[in-house]
Amino acid sequence: MWIYEKKLQYPVKIKNKDVRMAKWIIEQYGGADGELAAALRYLTQRYTMPTGKSKALLTDIGTEELAHLEIIAAMVYQLMKDATIEEIKEAGLAEYYADHDKALFYVNAAGNPFTVTYIQAKGDPITDLYEDMAAEQKARSTYEWLINLTDDPCVKDPLRFLREREVVHFQRFGEALMDVYEYQNSKKFY
């Protein structure tokens, strides 16, 4: 069961619109290594995790990723607010606008729609945890490229926050992997 708290995990207070940056940041909304992919991946893998600890961790990180999705949405929303049609055309976002106006939609920076082929739930918890660790690294790298694409501290700060979260999540999934290996080994002796 999910409860929603009416606050962002990290504050987003963008002062200057930047439609081009919005177009790039949307990569973490509907892209392969973005927050929606992460949330859906972990929240669906959790059902077949072998221990209470791993079920808890996948549930909790999956939930945190939804909170991150909200931060990305807030960033795109604020970067696009008050943008003129001219600015939208110049930024190369006219095709998106033609379909969505300024609505938030699950696409990547190139405009490709989200697909669950971005994620996997193999059922083998070891396999799933390696996928999760790789996912966190891919997300971390993506945030680094996005940080490189802007000079605005109001935009860089939340991106740095989100990037560091990936570092922490990687460590957590790694610890869970160690634990699941041990758990499986302990079941071999009888």
Binding site: I3, E5, K6, K7
Partner: protein, 82 residues
């Protein structure tokens, strides 16, 4: 958003974040007593801050997790992305 509201919200975000971090750590380390003590301490602090914020600015949670004055405050603006 006025200054006092912003500062209270910031404090909430700070304590809330500590709780998320400790929660994830505890998921992998359920027997770490220090981490658990810190978690419970922050959880109490969060409860107080949440009640204070809500008494001034309305509920942060719905579905029964916080009360509402009349008229139904959950629908109030601004929403977090604005």
């Amino acid at each position: 958003m006025d200054r006092q509201r912003c500062e209270l919200m910031r404090e909430l975000q700070e304590v809330s974040f500590a709780l998320v971090e400790l929660n994830l750590f505890l998921d992998n380390n359920p027997t770490n007593q220090q981490a658990l003590a810190d978690y419970n301490m922050f959880a109490r602090k969060y409860e107080e801050l949440k009640k204070m914020y809500e008494s001034l600015y309305g509920p942060l949670t719905n579905f029964g997790y916080a009360p509402s004055k009349y008229p139904w405050q959950w629908v109030n603006e601004p929403w977090p992305w604005e």
